[in-house]
Amino acid sequence: MSSGLIAETTEGRPASTGEPILRAAGVGRAFRGLQALADYDLDLRQGEILGVIGPNGAGKSTLFNVITGFLRPTSGRIVFHGREIAGLPPDKITALGIARTFQNIRLFAGMSVLDNVRTAQGMRGGAGFWETIFSAPSFLRKERAIEERALEHLAALGLADLHGVPATSLPYGLQRKLEIARALATEPSVLLLDEPAAGMNAQETADLTQLIRDLHARFGLTVVVVEHDMSLIMRLCERIQVLNYGRVIASGTPAEIRADPKVIEAYLGADETPDMALPTVDGRQQTHEESM
C-alpha cells in the first residue's frame, strides 16, 4: 500500500496558480503567559493545499481561530485579498470568503442535515426583511435557490439522501462531512479544515482524502488542512508547515518534511512512543489524543 501511495502523492497532487491570496506576517497569539502562536508567516497561494502539522498543543487550532476572527492576534498582520482582516469579527471574515470546520464538531444540533447547510447557504443571497414578511415572489425564488444550492453542497459530500434526518443522528464520520458541506455553503474561496479525519478509520480517511481533492478541484478552493493523519497530509498537500510550541519549525514539500530532523525531534519530544518519531506515509498517527 505504501509504495502506491507515494506514487499517487506526486502525481495526484493538485497544482496551485501561485497568486498569493492569504498572507500572514509575524502573527502571534498569547494566552496570559503562554505564547500559543508566535512569529507566524504565511503566503497562501491561490489554489494550493497547505498542510499544517505538529504535536498537540502546537498552536494549529489557535492559528485557525486567529485567521477566522475567533481570536484576536496579539501581534502581526493578516491580509486576505489585499485587505487587513486581523481583528474583524468571524462573520465578516466568513463573508469575505474564508470558511472553516472545527476540531470538535459543532453542528446545529436541533436542525436537520439540510437545515444545517441551508442556514449557511442563506447567509449569501438570503431575502430581505420585508420580502420575507410578505412572502414576496422574490423571497420564494431566493428560498428555492438557497435550497437547491444547499442540496448541491450536500450532494458534493454524499449526504443528499440524508437531508431530512436530524444532524446529530448521523454517525461521527458523516457529521464531519456535514461540517464541510456547511462550510462550503458559505461559498468560500479559502477553506480551513481542522483535523477532518479525526476519529476515522484508514478506509474512511482514504475516502476523505479523495473527497477533499475533488472538492478542491470542483469548487476552485484554496485549502489549509490541519491533520495528524500523515497519509492524508502526504497525499493531499504540496506544501507543509510544521508547528511546534507555536512556531513554524519546518516548511516544505512532503519529502522535505519527512526528512527534516527538526520535525522528527518535535514529534519525539511530544511523545515517547517510538513509532511516533516518523510521520510515515502509510501509518496512522493515532498516538496523539486525536479527539482534542
Partner: protein
C-alpha cells in the same frame, strides 16, 4: 398555528408548489374556523367570558413575541413586560379624552398630547393608531436598549433585561406628571374587542412564522444551537438577536395598547414580575421554539385559573364534596407545570408546530436513514474547546 410542517423539514423542489397550495388551504380553513369561533363567542358568551377570550388573544401576542425574542435566539429576556408597559402607556395617553387628561393632572404631557382628542375618530382607527404607536415606541426603545444588551448571553442577558424591566417600572411609578405614578391612568376608552384582538394575533403569528421559515429564523435558531458555529458560517449574531428583540418588542407593545383599551386602566403593578413570569411560563409550557406552543400556553394559562376557581369554591361530586380551599387553584396549576417540566422538559411542543399533526403527516421528511439506529448516534469527541471562554460570552 397555521404552519404546515416542521420548520426544519426539507421540501423537495417538485413538492414545494403543491405544499404551498396545501398550506394556503389550511391557512384559509384556520382563519375561517377562527372567524366562526369569534362570531359564536360574540353572540353567545357573556361580557365577562368575552373579555376572557380577548385576554387569551392579548397573552398569545405577548407569548408569540417572546417566542421570537427568546425562543428562537436563546436570548432569555426578562424584560418583555417592560415593552408591554411602554405600549400600554403610549396607547393610553393617545386615546384618553383631553378632559380626563386634565382632570388626572398630568403636567408632564406635551401640549399636543394633552389636547390630542381621538374621540371623534372612528374607534378602530383610534385603536390602530394607539397600537402602532405603542408598538413603534416599544420597538424604538428595544433598538436602543438591545444594541448593548444583545451582545450578552446566558444569565447575563437575563439579568440585564431584568434591569431594563426594573427601570421601566421605576419610571412608571415616579414619572407622575405623565404616568400618574402608582395610581396609574384610568378612563382609557374600551376600544379593544374580540375581533381586533384576534386580528393582531393573526398578524403577529403570521409575521413571526414568516421570519421563522426564512434565513432570519434559521440564523436565529443556529445562534441558539451553537453560537460559535453560527458565527463561523457568517451569522451576524448581534443583528439577528436585535431584530428578534425589536420585532418582539413591537408586537408586545401592541399587546400593551390592546390590554389597556380592554381593561380601561394602566397601572405599574400590572407590568412587573408577576406578568413577566406568567408569560415565561406560557412560552416554556408551550415549547420555547414553537409559535403554536406559545398560543396554546397562553390559552391554558389564561383560562385555567378561571376554571380552577370553581374548584377553589368547593364542589359537590355526588358522594364526594369539597369545601372551599383558597389557593388551591394556584397549587394545582403549579403542580401541573412541574409535571410538564419533569416529563416534557422541552414543553408541550418543543420546537415543533401543530400543523403536521392536524394534517396527519407527522414530521414530514424527518425519517432516519436506513441502517442508522438512534443507538448508533455517536457521542461527539470530548476534548478541550478551542475557543477561549472570554470570547464565548460575547457575540460582537
Amino acid at each position: 398555528m397555521v404552519t404546515l410542517d416542521h420548520a426544519g423539514s426539507p421540501r423537495g423542489m417538485a413538492r414545494s408548489r403543491s405544499r404551498g397550495v396545501q398550506r394556503l388551504a389550511v391557512a384559509v380553513a384556520a382563519l375561517a374556523l377562527l372567524g366562526l369561533f369569534l362570531a359564536y363567542a360574540e353572540a353567545s358568551l357573556n361580557g365577562y367570558r368575552q373579555q376572557l377570550v380577548t385576554l387569551v388573544a392579548i397573552n398569545a401576542i405577548i407569548a408569540v413575541s417572546l417566542t421570537l425574542t427568546s425562543g428562537f435566539t436563546g436570548v432569555f429576556s426578562l424584560g418583555q413586560i417592560g415593552f408591554l408597559a411602554i405600549g400600554a402607556y403610549t396607547g393610553a395617553l393617545l386615546t384618553i379624552a383631553p378632559q380626563w387628561k386634565s382632570e388626572m393632572f398630568l403636567p408632564g404631557l406635551p401640549e399636543w398630547l394633552a389636547t390630542l382628542d381621538l374621540s371623534a375618530w372612528p374607534e378602530q382607527a383610534a385603536l390602530l393608531v394607539a397600537c402602532v404607536a405603542g408598538g413603534g415606541l416599544a420597538a424604538l426603545v428595544a433598538a436602543l436598549v438591545g444594541a448593548p444588551l444583545m451582545r450578552l448571553s446566558g444569565h447575563y442577558v437575563a439579568v440585564a433585561t431584568m434591569g431594563f424591566l426594573i427601570i421601566v417600572q421605576a419610571v412608571a411609578i415616579n414619572w407622575e406628571g405623565v404616568t400618574r405614578g402608582a395610581r396609574g391612568l384610568s378612563q382609557i376608552p374600551g376600544l379593544t374587542g374580540l375581533w381586533v384582538a384576534y386580528a393582531w394575533v393573526v398578524v403577529t403569528v403570521y409575521a413571526v412564522w414568516r421570519l421563522r421559515a426564512s434565513s432570519f429564523g434559521r440564523a436565529m435558531i443556529a445562534s441558539r444551537e451553537n453560537l460559535i458555529a453560527a458565527r463561523a458560517i457568517g451569522v451576524d449574531v448581534l443583528r439577528k438577536r436585535l431584530l428578534a428583540f425589536v420585532v418582539g418588542a413591537f408586537f408586545t407593545g401592541v399587546a400593551g395598547s390592546l390590554l389597556v383599551h380592554q381593561i380601561g386602566t394602566a397601572a405599574p403593578s400590572a407590568f412587573y414580575f408577576t406578568t413577566t413570569f406568567n408569560v415565561i411560563i406560557m412560552v416554556v409550557l408551550g415549547g420555547m421554539g414553537s409559535i403554536s406552543g406559545a398560543v396554546v400556553g397562553a390559552t391554558i394559562l389564561t383560562l385555567a385559573p378561571e376554571y380552577l376557581r370553581d374548584v377553589e369554591d368547593g364542589m359537590d361530586l355526588g358522594p364526594l364534596s369539597f369545601g372551599a380551599h383558597y389557593g388551591l387553584a394556584q397549587i394545582i396549576l403549579a403542580v401541573g407545570f412541574i409535571l410538564v417540566m419533569i416529563f416534557r422538559p422541552q414543553g408541550l411542543f418543543g420546537d415543533r408546530e401543530v400543523g403536521p399533526a392536524l394534517l396527519g403527516r407527522f414530521r414530514p421528511g424527518r425519517r432516519r436513514p436506513a441502517g442508522l439506529s438512534p443507538d448508533a448516534t455517536p457521542t461527539l469527541a470530548p476534548g478541550v474547546d478551542e475557543i477561549p471562554a472570554d470570547d464565548r460570552s460575547r457575540t460582537g
